[in-house]
């Protein structure tokens, strides 16, 4: 079977399971007795195993199978979730992730898989020794006969029949499993009658079993005859005939060869029940959500964007025309389009949980490595954000969190000395605030001292000592985002990976967001990241320069001014204006963009913009007004033009360029 077309789907689902396993394992680590979590993990591992085998990814199947075994032992209580076991499981998850990334190289990581599988096996073996007896413990679970069935068996036995427990194993390659099961049933009816089937007949018909099923029958025929007859059926690989435990006192000595079999029986029997339950869950979930290719979604959003632009045009025409019916029809169209737009924009929204979910693991590993005790508290993970923002916000948050663990939280000893709890707390919180999302990363660590920041800045030559005198505490803290500034005494493995706080700020600002810091020495630091809900549609001010219309994102605009020529001063050959005792450099947008302008206007229109903490006045010809615009990327053929962030299509069908303020000034 060619499965390549399902590969993306497989990957997406597998990653979800993997994420779930990571979270559950963390939960398990703090609460080893939690059976529900174990159950959930077992199911996830089982599903992963099934999926991988179906897709023909042997390494993955092998690894997940061993994980499933370990989890099964944990679940049954024959193995305890001690730290070493958890670590092996974490290692397996890491390897799983690695394997998922290299699906196309089946031979990759062979050694690692062998090594981890070995560890997992060893964990299982250890558990078996702990449990002492393997067979009997597992055996008890295989068959649960209800009172009615037991009564039937008792009656049968009294009538001279024998209760037999059959396990029928089909070829792994068997395609028509339900047909084979039916043939087995048909044949057995010749010898006696079937009291119970595990899984049930319904599931057998629907092929909801792997390669084996179990039956309890009443018969007078000898075991060997039954076995031989059943083996005549095509694709029946093996048949095991045993006593029914309830009917006979458990035989003390099972042959060693069979012990392993029994263990497997218990596994399949249980997972079968679970798989059925899980399938039901998946079906229920399937009714609520569907998977859609993001390309299709983007296309839809693009079209709705066009519609929104055209609506604006029609609404404007509606104002000119006086026919009352047209006006009301246009109003109706306006309302529907607005609703459609917000509904479609919601399609792009995904919970920030997708990003947050990987942090507990990261913080755990990091704090272990650093010998610190850190509790990461996550709040508001259901907060929804545009998909493209969620995709980009991961790295900056990783850096803020690493920073908190590495520089913020003190070692346990230091914390105790300063009267704090030994375990530090980092809170990662997201919430909506107007049309923005606010993400807060706060820690109760050592905090940042404004005085020290200033000292460092002067040492590094970022500030003159005179400037340092004037600067406010807030501004001093903001120095952390300056290029070439790092407060850590030594560059560590964690925070010294080339991504400084200035990079954090740059990434966030590139998404039209902002980042702020508050800190008090000894009490900890708080970082506030503010992000727009969406990137696809923004509010912009339209301006005209040299006959062309340009859009400036509202987010970077501080105010609009009209400036008389005599108010323009020249400092060191550069034109500046004075706005409320703040000196702002002036940029003539037309010249900047290399356009011919005849600025014969008496009074200049100036848009004050801010980026990277720098304010600048942009001189334009005409201020046209504010509008929602749909951002379109420029073709690859012409990308990377300085000062241009993208383009949009105006109501009249013409293209207007969107200015990138941060690269302009």
């Amino acid at each position: 079977m060619d499965t390549s077309e399902y590969k993306d789907l497989f990957l997406a689902e597998a990653r979800e399971y993997l994420q779930g396993l990571n979270i559950a394992l963390l939960q398990l680590e703090s609460d080893p007795a939690n059976r529900e979590v174990l159950q959930e993990m077992f199911r996830a591992a089982h599903s992963l195993k099934g999926m991988s085998a179906t897709m023909g990814y042997q390494q993955l199947a092998n690894l997940t199978h061993q994980m499933e075994n370990v989890l099964d032992f944990l679940r049954q209580g024959s193995l305890r979730a001690k730290r070493d076991v958890a670590n092996i499981l974490f290692e397996s998850l890491d390897l799983l992730e690695l394997l998922l990334g290299r699906l196309d190289e089946p031979a990759a990581c062979l050694e690692q898989v062998d090594r981890v599988v070995g560890k997992l096996r060893a964990a299982c073996d250890g558990s078996m020794e702990e449990a002492g007896l393997v067979g009997s413990a597992a055996d008890g679970d295989t068959l649960l006969l209800d009172e009615f069935e037991k009564e039937m068996l008792r009656a049968g036995c009294a009538g001279g029949e024998r209760a037999r427990h059959l396990e029928v194993v089909l070829d792994a390659s068997c395609l028509l499993k339900s047909v084979r099961a039916y043939m087995v049933f048909k044949l057995l009816e010749k010898f006696g009658h079937i009291v119970k089937a595990v899984p049930g007949t319904q599931e057998l018909e629907e092929e909801q079993f792997e390669d084996r099923f179990q039956l309890v029958i009443l018969t007078q025929t000898a075991d060997e005859t039954i076995r031989a007859e059943l083996l005549q059926i095509a694709e029946v690989a093996d048949v095991l005939v045993r006593d029914v435990p309830e009917m006979v006192a458990p035989s003390a000595g099972l042959e060693p060869a069979k012990v392993r079999k029994v263990e497997l029986v218990s596994e399949t029997a249980i997972s079968q029940e679970e798989v059925n339950g899980e399938r039901r869950n998946i079906r229920r979930a399937a009714e609520k959500t569907i998977r859609v290719e993001t390309d299709k979604l983007d296309k839809l959003i693009n079209l709705v964007g066009e519609l929104v632009v055209n609506r604006t045009r029609v609404v404007e025409l509606g104002r000119i025309d006086v026919a009352a019916e047209l006006v009301s029809a246009v109003e109706q169209l306006d309302r529907i389009t607005t609703d459609l737009q917000s509904a479609v924009m919601k399609l792009r929204m995904v919970p920030i949980k997708q990003v947050f979910d990987r942090f507990p693991r990261m913080v755990r590993d990091l704090s272990q490595e650093k010998g610190k005790k850190v509790n990461l508290e996550i709040r508001g993970e259901e907060t929804e954000l545009d998909r493209s923002i969620v995709n980009q916000i991961g790295d900056p948050l990783v850096h803020l969190l690493r920073n908190s663990v590495d520089h913020g939280i003190e070692p346990p000893g230091v914390r105790v000395q300063s009267g704090k709890p030994e375990e530090g707390t980092i809170i990662l919180e997201a919430r909506h605030e107007g049309s923005y999302v606010l993400i807060r990363v706060s820690d109760d660590g050592r905090g940042i001292s404004a005085g020290e920041m200033l000292k460092k800045a002067v040492e590094k030559g970022l500030l003159s000592s005179a400037e340092a005198q004037r600067i406010s505490e807030e501004e001093a803290l903001r120095l952390i985002f300056r290029n070439g500034f790092s407060t850590a005494e030594q560059v560590t493995d964690i925070s010294g990976r080339g991504v400084g706080m200035d990079a954090v700020k740059t990434v966030i600002e590139s998404m039209n967001g902002s980042v702020e810091i508050k800190s008090s020495p000894g009490e900890g630091s708080r970082f506030y990241v503010r992000l727009p809900l969406t990137l696809a549609i923004i509010k912009a001010l339209l301006v005209e320069v040299a006959g062309e219309i340009y859009a400036i994102p509202i987010e970077s605009i501080r105010e609009n001014l009209y400036v008389a020529p005599q108010d323009i001063k020249t400092i060191r050959g550069e034109k500046v204006i004075n706005v409320r005792s703040e000196v702002l450099p002036l940029i003539y947008l037309g010249e900047m963009l290399g356009m011919k302008t005849d600025s014969s206007e008496e009074i200049l229109s100036v848009v004050v913009v801010e980026a990277a903490d720098r304010k600048t006045g942009l001189v334009v010809d005409v201020l046209l007004g504010q509008q929602e615009i749909v951002i379109k990327s420029l073709s690859r053929a012409v990308e990377g033009i300085r000062g241009v962030a993208g383009a949009t299509v105006l109501g009249n069908g013409r293209v207007a360029l969107i200015l990138d303020v941060s690269s302009l000034i």
Binding site: M595, R636, A637, A647, G653
Partner: protein
């Protein structure tokens, strides 16, 4: 455009089908497989600080597509764009790009045997842009290849030097 494409269906397979156009009196053509459509000149928004032959961007049913002036690209005389001027939208590796030409004439069918390899320099255009010269009756048609149409002069110059170097090495051997 629909008419142009419609005619091509019944032709034998080995014939090349080309969209022919004029540029300063010379006849050029591009492979029809690369051509998406032909438009009259829409309003073009200039792109500041881009390569000089990039005329700007246009809106093609909601998509923003860069347009380049082939006269400028080939260093031909700049001329006012008349009524017959068209934009040929072609698909190249970088995406869709519009080419401004003086006029579009027809869809040609050329037998590959009627195509000769390009001369070294022709009508001011660089050899990189030409895949061959087609003969149709007494018409000579310069057939363009579009792969390098967006490369800067510097990139082309560099490739030239590398090519010359390779030739020199080969000759010395």
């Amino acid at each position: 455009m629909n008419n142009l494409v419609g005619k091509t269906e019944e032709q034998p397979q080995d014939e090349l089908q080309l969209v022919a156009f004029f540029l300063q009196g010379e006849e050029f053509a591009v492979d029809i497989q690369k051509v998406r459509e032909v438009l009259k000149l829409p309003p073009i928004t200039p792109l500041p600080q881009s390569l000089d032959f990039i005329e700007g961007v246009i809106n093609l049913r909601g998509e923003v597509i860069p347009v380049l002036d082939l006269r400028k690209r080939f260093r031909l005389k700049d001329a006012a764009k008349g009524d017959k001027a068209r934009i040929i939208i072609v698909e190249i590796e970088e995406g869709m790009v519009g080419l401004i030409v003086d006029s579009v004439t027809e869809v040609l069918h050329l037998n590959p045997s009627a195509i000769e390899p390009p001369p070294r320099r022709l009508a001011g255009t660089r050899p990189e842009f030409i895949s061959g010269v087609g003969k149709l009756g007494n018409r000579l048609i310069i057939i363009l290849q579009l792969e390098k149409i967006l490369s800067t002069e510097e990139q082309l110059e560099l490739e030239h030097l590398q090519l010359a170097e390779a030739e020199r090495v080969a000759l010395n051997r």
